[in-house]
């Protein structure tokens, strides 16, 4: 446990939080990140630094669902994140200022905090029509993204749209929408896919960054392995029913009432990686399969086009085993097309990733091979 520290106590008092709350929060974050308790002291020290790191949150072609999701954060409490953990200086949906006063914040941060601040991006970036499908303060989204992400220490892309263009990019992609790492190549970015992102994971990435000055280990889509490294089907509470061959065959039938497997109703859980069943949503209250609906693989690349029709059962879905590929499932082998649900056992071979490797290693995002 932590030794008493007078400076820490003073720092906490000024922020109106107790030491117990802080330790509890840091422990929860370590749990999400799958980090051992021995990092606790380092984490506590990092999140109570006198000068809080600056964060700006940009919204482009979005629905604000990822902002709302962040507002639902329970551990840590959203007020703790926004007021105490970071200096959250720009976020259109909740910031006090508007118009010029708001635009000046972005300019100031990208100059004065150059190379030090974190930027969160929500929403896709339209590239067609010279970017005129999204403007803020008379400037295009791509212009703002180049400036603000280009000068940041790191970019966190939250939600499907910022990850790979999401719904906005699905066929026929009327606005030429792209994810942030495609629209602004060369920046340091971590992708928190999902529709919306899960704030538990995003908070954990923020804490990891504050503690280790680096982003956690990622997969080939620059998504943190702690959140996207395991297949939903393998973590599903209904898995035993799948193994026993007990399936829902009609909405509202006996199997549906008893919580049987939704595979035959179009569930994409066997083909999706996310910690949704474990992290769950809204203070660990539930998740979509618990609510009786199949998974739509909302954290998977290009899921809108690749995983729909959503009520078609796997493998009668265009993306199954082809576009999504073995790499997406973390198997690192070609020929995933042969994996049917009968060989789901293979999916469990994904290895836990040893990290972090102190001292924090360079984690430059690899250039993604463009799939198209």
């Amino acid at each position: 446990m932590l030794a008493p520290d007078k400076n820490l106590d003073d720092a906490l008092r000024s922020r109106g939080i107790t030491r117990r709350q802080l330790v509890k929060f840091c422990s929860a974050m370590l749990g999400t990140l799958a980090l051992p308790e021995r990092y606790l002291a380092q984490t506590v020290a990092a999140v109570t630094k006198a000068r809080k790191p600056v964060l700006v949150w940009l919204q482009f072609q979005d629905c604000t669902g990822c902002s709302e999701s962040m507002l639902r954060s329970s551990h840590p409490d959203v007020a703790d994140v926004v007021l105490d953990l970071l200096s959250w200086e720009y976020h259109e949906v909740i910031m006090a200022g508007a118009g010029d006063a708001a635009n000046k914040v972005l300019d100031r941060v990208s100059k004065e905090e150059k190379g030090k601040y974190i930027v969160v991006v929500e929403g896709a970036i339209p590239m067609a029509e010279d970017g005129m499908y999204c403007t803020i303060g008379g400037r295009t989204a791509i212009d703002i993204a180049r400036q603000v992400c280009g000068n940041a220490a790191a970019t966190i892309a939250v939600g499907a749209c910022a990850f790979d263009g999401g719904l906005v990019r699905s066929k026929p992609n009327p606005t030429g929408a792209l994810g942030v790492h495609e629209a602004v190549p060369g920046i340091k970015v971590i992708n928190m896919s999902g529709c919306p992102h899960n704030p538990v994971n995003t908070a954990a990435v923020l804490v990891h960054y504050l503690t280790f000055h680096d982003l956690p280990d990622v997969d080939q889509y620059n998504r943190p392995l702690f959140a996207y490294g395991r297949v939903i089907h393998d973590q599903c509470e209904r898995r035993a029913h799948f193994d026993a061959g007990r399936f829902v065959t009609e909405w509202g039938d006996e199997g549906h009432r008893k919580g049987w497997c939704l595979y035959k109703m179009g569930c994409k859980g066997p083909e999706a990686t996310f910690n949704c069943p474990i992290a769950q949503w809204n203070d660990h209250t539930s998740w979509p399969i618990r609510a009786g609906h199949g998974c739509i693989a909302c954290a998977s690349p290009r899921f809108w086009d690749h995983m729909s029709p959503f009520y078609e059962r796997l493998p009668n879905v265009p993306g199954f085993g082809v576009d999504v590929s073995a790499g997406e499932l973390g198997l690192g082998m070609v020929g995933a097309a042969v994996i049917g649900v009968t060989t789901h056992g293979l999916l469990r071979t994904i290895k836990p990733v040893p990290y972090p490797a102190p001292p924090a290693s360079e984690s430059t995002p690899t250039e993604e091979k463009k799939e198209n």
Binding site: A50, Y133, W251
Partner: protein
């Protein structure tokens, strides 16, 4: 004359720009522009209508689920599917909970900072604040110690020099006139509301797996399977109890915080009972059925139209009189100007200034929003429209609620037609809705106990049972007002899809006749004390609770696949 520009209008959903002319200290004209476009209706074409709701729901993540409910209703209307009673109750619960939570967030987190000076809260006396809080409410947290703690937290943030979200506010603006103690109380309740909203919305997680974007709608019902004896069922006695606790908490929060705070703050800003009226025309589709969803007589909020403030007359709503025009929107029509949504057509064509730009050419096209009209007239939709139409319809629940508030404020009904009127209407509606939630949980519980567990109508699930073509519309009274989806199905796929959304009604640009939309009209004559800090513009625009992502949409555009530029 000065041209004021507010872009971005923050503390709203989406990307909104306001340009306005200031002359002699007052706004003489105003233009409202939506500056973001995605093309979701176009993306929907060719897809399975049974999953349209999953896509349409992503139109908005703030009023999440409102587009889901409008979408399933549109498809159910097209395919003539009747929905079981339990599904209606669950939909009412999800939508009603959304309304209460959304209104609370709007008041405290999107709107309050237009009226509450956070910096001034530091000057408050916590003892006096406690006395004030206890005089207006029975809420648990009202001791001087509690308010001192909040004040210290704010002071900690201010002293650190890192003001976070509050860094860019117009603090010290002369239009902030609350006493320090009211400011402190409001700041404390800003934080309480932040904590409450995420707790309460767990009801969406129970009934939909998550919020935002709950995932339990079906064309024909809901996925929330019910079973009184099954722990794995989505709705069982344990989950009913959880919902009952959450709903009671909502009633308490609205009664102990939201209503008293609105009534405490409003009297200091009486000028705003005569400002920001706008059109005086109100449209309400009506919703929240107690029986047959297709029968408006069963609605909690009556369907109707009130024109020119005349509450002695409620006109019926004729769906065929709804049109959208693109005279000032960045789209093209193949012919004519105003089109009914069922035959709506649009091709996006940006013709505004090249970025970066200082001003829009407001004589030409200037927004990604289209211009909805009813019988050629601009209309206001939203909580105020629901209260005005309900009041004029003689709805006892709504009349009692409105009359009670007017009595507390010692004000005549005319004050409703104003910026503060919208705020009051929203609060009253939240109170009214919170009480309804309790009833719907009880009914669900009753059905569960009596073994009435049907939640889905399977008759038309198989697309093989559909006609070769069908069309329909689905309406919903969303938190921000009248929402409609129109769908055309052909060969088991979506041929055409269109949404006419509350914020499109309110925030749309002028029509071909030059008639202003609700935002534009509401800003006329608003005094602005400091052109560099146009707080007054935010007050009136925020009173509508803008949701711009919802408001911008398109159909029938020419499909273009965009190619990713190669990374060097």
């Amino acid at each position: 004359m000065a041209r004021l520009v507010v872009d971005p209008v923050s503390r709203i959903e989406g990307h909104l720009r306001i340009e306005a002319n200031l002359e002699g200290g007052k706004l003489t004209d105003a233009w409202s522009s939506g500056t973001m476009f995605r093309g979701i209706e176009m993306i929907l074409q060719g897809r399975d209508p049974r999953e349209a709701w999953i896509w349409a729901q992503r139109i908005c993540g703030v009023c999440t689920m409102v587009h889901a409910i409008a979408s399933v209703r549109a498809v159910e209307d097209a395919l003539q599917i009747e929905v079981p009673e339990n599904a209606r109750l669950v939909r009412n619960l999800i939508a009603g909970a959304q309304m209460v939570q959304d209104h609370v967030i709007h008041f405290y987190h999107l709107h309050a900072l237009d009226w509450v000076d956070v910096a001034a809260a530091l000057k408050a006396d916590p003892v006096k604040t406690s006395t004030l809080a206890q005089s207006i409410s029975d809420c648990d947290k009202s001791s001087a110690k509690y308010f001192r703690g909040v004040q210290e937290r704010v002071k900690g943030v201010v002293d650190s020099g890192q003001l976070s979200l509050f860094a860019s506010g117009y603090w010290g603006h002369p239009a902030y006139i609350l006493p320090p103690e009211v400011n402190l109380m409001a700041v404390a309740h800003y934080l309480e509301a932040l904590a409450w909203q995420k707790d309460f919305i767990r009801i969406h997680a129970i009934l939909g797996g998550k919020n935002p974007h709950p995932q339990s709608f079906l064309v024909g019902g809901m996925t929330t399977a019910m079973d009184p004896d099954e722990p794995a069922a989505v709705i069982n006695p344990e989950r009913i109890q959880m919902m009952r606790d959450l709903v009671r908490g909502a009633v308490k929060f609205v009664n102990d915080y939201y209503i008293p705070d609105v009534l405490a703050i409003a009297p200091f800003y009486k000028d705003w009972f005569t400002r920001g009226e706008g059109l005086g025309n109100f449209l309400c589709y009506g919703d929240y059925s107690s029986g047959d969803q297709t029968d408006p007589k069963t609605f909690l909020f009556p369907r109707g139209i009130v024109m020119g403030r005349d509450i002695t007359k409620v006109l019926p709503v004729d769906p065929s009189k709804i049109t959208e025009s693109v005279a000032h929107s960045w789209y093209e029509y193949s012919g004519g100007d105003a089109k009914h949504p069922s035959v709506g057509e649009t091709s996006p064509k940006y013709s505004g200034p090249k970025a970066p730009y200082d001003h829009l050419d407001v004589d030409a096209k200037y927004s990604w929003l289209k211009t909805p009209r009813y019988d050629g007239k601009p209309m206001e939709v939203g909580p105020l429209a629901r209260m005005v139409v309900g009041y004029a319809s003689g709805n006892k629940l709504i009349q009692d609620s409105v009359n009670g508030a007017l009595k507390a404020l010692n004000a005549p009904p005319a004050v409703l037609f104003s910026t503060l009127g919208r705020i009051a209407a929203r609060a009253l509606e939240a109170q009214l809705m919170a009480r309804q939630l309790e009833g719907w949980v009880d009914q669900l519980d009753d059905n569960l106990a009596h073994g009435k567990t049907m939640i889905f109508n399977p008759v038309k699930w198989d697309p093989g049972s559909w006609p070769s073509s069908a069309s329909g519309h689905g309406w919903h009274e969303a938190p921000r007002g009248a929402l409609g989806h129109w769908v055309e199905i052909s060969n088991k796929a979506i041929k055409n899809y269109q949404c006419v959304v509350p914020t499109t009604w309110n925030a749309g640009p002028r029509d071909a006749q030059g008639q202003r939309g609700a935002y534009e009209a509401a800003l006329i004559n608003t005094p602005v004390a400091d052109p560099n800090r146009p707080l007054e513009i935010l007050r009136t625009i925020h009173s509508f609770d803008p949701c711009i992502a919802c408001a911008v949409h398109v159909i029938d555009a020419q499909g273009r696949e965009y190619t990713i530029p190669r990374v060097a």
